[in-house]
Structures are given as structure tokens and as C-alpha cells.
Amino acid sequence: MNKNPEITRRDFLKLASKAVLTAAGLLGLGGLFRFLDTQTEPSPQTDFDLGLPAKYPLGSRTVLADVPALLVHSLGGFSALSLVCTHLGCTVESQVDGFACPCHGSRFDLKGNVSRGPAGKPLNSLKTAITSDGNLHLYTS
């Protein structure tokens, strides 16, 4: 038996082929990843036109189902609370004393702070503004 530590030509060529094929495979995998990791849909709406501010009088709390958010008109003006649960994204239900998530039991108080887990963060506050056309707008980002 040849105790020469050098590699035979056959084994070297075999190794080289395997290395090249592996490199090709990795390249293909990278390309596959780029192929799959693409958005074809337009980005979701972040600016919601809510119409005239007069539709939401002082003291009102209006659930906007398609955002989803709660629009509050208080003495300090308009504010909005996102109704997306901060745990895993289900839409929370508006209740008398706050909000309840139907998925894993998280509860939030009327201001959006967590009153019972498993959610860890309070409901997001969303920005509102009245634009130059006089309409109230809500922004989700």
C-alpha cells in the first residue's frame, strides 16, 4: 500500500467535481431564494382618507374596520389606536372596558396598554392629520 500522503489524480478530480457542483448548487440556491423572496403585490395602503372631521364628533370613538384602527376625538384633538394585536397580529375586538384579542387572550385597556398577556407591547398609536383638502387622514406607518 502506497503510504504517500499526496492525493491521487482520480481522487483529486472527483473532489474538484464535487466542489464545483456544490458551488453551482449553492449559487442555484441563492438564485432560488431571490426568486422566491419577491413581492409582486403593491405595498399595502398606509394613508387612509377618513373624510370630513365633522363625521367624528367630539367624544366619539369610531372603529375603522379596514385599517384596522380606532379613531378617538377627544378634547386634545384626534388620535388613533391600531387594532392590530402586538402579540401575533390578530385584530382585537372593541369592548366596554378596552380591547380583547380572540386568538391568545391578550387584553388591552381603553388607552391600548396591556392589561393581560401574552402580548408584551401596548397597541400602536397611529398618526392623524387634516390635509389641505380639509379631510382627516390616518397613517399606519
Binding site: L52, A54, K55, P57, G59, S60
Partner: protein, 418 residues
Amino acid sequence: MRRYFLLAASLALLLALLFVAWYEKLHPKPVPLTPTLTGQVEYCLTCHSDLAQISNSHPVQTFGCVLCHSGEPLALDANLAHSTMRGGSNPSDFSVVQASCGSDKCHSGTPESYSNHIQRATTSIQATYAGAIANIMFTFGVQPDLTARLGIFSVQVPGSTSGITALAAFDPAQETNPYVKAFGQNCLTCHLSAQPMPGSVYFRFTGCAACHTPTQSADRTSTQQLQSSQIHKLTTSISYTQCDTCHNRGNYDLRSITFTPRQDLPIDRLHDYYQPIAQFTSCEWMLDCVDCHTRTEAMGDGNLYSSKLDIQYIQCKTCHGTLTELPQTRPLTDPNDLAFRLALINPVVDLKLGDTILVTGKNEPLWNTCVLPDGIYQLVGKATGEVFPFKPVMGSACTQNGTDQTSAYCHTCHSVTR
């Protein structure tokens, strides 16, 4: 023995397949309907083919069912099919009426096209109950005057000509005054979004159906019987009995904030119409409420008001005139006159171009009236079809003073003894 297992199992499979085929035959054959207004096929008629068409103005071949009721058009399982119906069995409930009856081609159009029913009905006094609420709040010192600030739901009418452009929602839980709280508990059963009190005499639907889907007294033995009989009707031919599910039912006591129902057991129309304490003339019980009270009075004019007194304006003189004036009339020369449309929906009269009808002080057409050639006037009952000829006050033996035209004044001579 074991070699027959395979044969037995094969036979069992064949039997199972035959059973499945037989079971499939038990299912009702789907009945499709593609209404002309939607172009989408729906299968409600598979189970509901025996339901009467709701009205001649809403033919099922044109509208279908889903346009008004929503629901799952393709489902033949009752629970799934009905799961997304608007307003349960009543799509005219005000919480869903805009989606069911709205759109500018239907009942939320413009005043000029006479199609702004939803905007008027949802801001009317019967819907907002603003008058009753304002009265109680003022009586017990919670608000300084009788101007309405609250309604059953919050509503805004930016261009309201009454000066009231918005009402906030009345929430009895937020009120501290014990009388107002008691009012919230005991006295909120007669607005258009309220569930009526228990009892067959009070039974009615909510929303538009409160008036336009009449419930016959024979149906009203129990709510369950009512619901199972599937009353499916929209009409403008509304009998006084429908109005009486809320009106003329009894008395409220302001000191105890309770309601005492009327105790009499009426045997005929005369005794049934009003509760025993009322005063009324013969036309006020022989006609139906809708024969005099106009569209604007019952459904509002789109503005917010603090009291029914701000919207009710019909008087005896509207039809009968005064000693010095004949009642106002209008000859029908325009084929697009509202009078013709109203007469078409409820054909108790055969109005023709050239006929002359009476009109109110606000120029609303009293389309069920007409002026006959010999100076006689005629009214045909919208709900009964009865013909009532009558003469104007001018030229009669009436001894009115002319300045007081309130009904109480006319009652002094003309009120009926029960």
C-alpha cells in the same frame, strides 16, 4: 370463512356507494336566480321559493335577494347561507340600512329626485327620539332649555336648516340624574331602532320595516309565531294599527318614570284607534294616519329637530280650507310629478294628467285626494281604499273664528263621543 371477507367487503363498498347516491338525491335541486341588477347567480329560492315577493316595486327577477339581504348566494346550507345576512332577518334596520337600501339609484339619492329616504328617516324625530330626550333632560334640570343635544345615536347634518347640526349619542349609563337614568331604562322602547316591549300589541320591526312592513293583528299572538310566518312585505299602504304599535298605547308618568299601558279592550275601529282619554274628529278615526300625515311629517325633511312640533304641520284646514280660503290645490300637468309616482306604488286611485289634487302648505302632494268637477273634494283611504267625499269649510255652516286653526279648536264642535 376468511376467504369470503373480501367479497363481503366489496359488497359493503357497493352498498355504501349506493347509499351515498341515494342520500345525494334527497338534497333539494338548486334553483338558480340571476337578477338583472346584479348579474350574479344566487340560490336562495332553492329553499325560499314559497316566500311572497316583497313588493311590486322590488320584483325578485330584478333585485334578487342578496342585493338587499346579503348572505352567501351560493350556499345551500342554512347556517352558512344566512351567516352574513345584513341585520339578521331585517336588512332595513338602521345599523345596516345604508348598505341594504342605499345607493344614489335607490333610497339614498337627492331631495330633487325624491329619493333621499334614508337620509330623512335616519335623522327624523322618530329615529333620533331627540324630542323625548330633550324634554326629560330639560324637565329634570340636566339641560337649560328644550334644544335637542342628544339622540339615540350620534348623527351629523352639517347643512341642517334648523340650527341643530349634530346630536351626540344618549348614553343612560353616563347620566347621573336618577330620573334620566330611569328614563333610559323604562322609556326607550319606541324609537325606530328599539326592540319593542314584550306583548303582541307592541310587536313591530325596526328601521324602515317599523312602518313599511306591517304586522297584522292576527299574526301578533307571539313573537315566535311572527318570525316563523316570515312576513315579507314592503308597502306604503300602512294601516293605523301599525302606527298604534307605538302610538296611543298608554301613558307615561313623569314622577315615577313608568309607563302604564291602556287597559281597555276595544271591539271596533272607533274604540281601538285611540286610547280612552283622547279627543278626535270622525276623519281622525275613519281615515288612517297616513291619509293625512305626510312623507315629511313621518320621515322628516333631512334636518335635525328638537321636537315633533317642529316637523308636524298638517292641519284640518289643509284639506278643508277656512271660511275665507279654499284648500290649496295643484293641477297635475307634469307627468313626472311626485304624485304620480306615489300613486303608482299604492294604486288606490287612478291619477291622470289633468287631475287636480290637494297640496299641503309645503307643497307636498296629497295624491290620494282630488277635486271633483262640482266643487266636491274626495279622499280615498290609502290603506282601506274607502272613498270619502267632503265639502270645504267655505260656504258651510261652520262658526269658526278663523284665527285659531289648531285641532283642539276644531275638536270643540267636531269631536266624536265614543
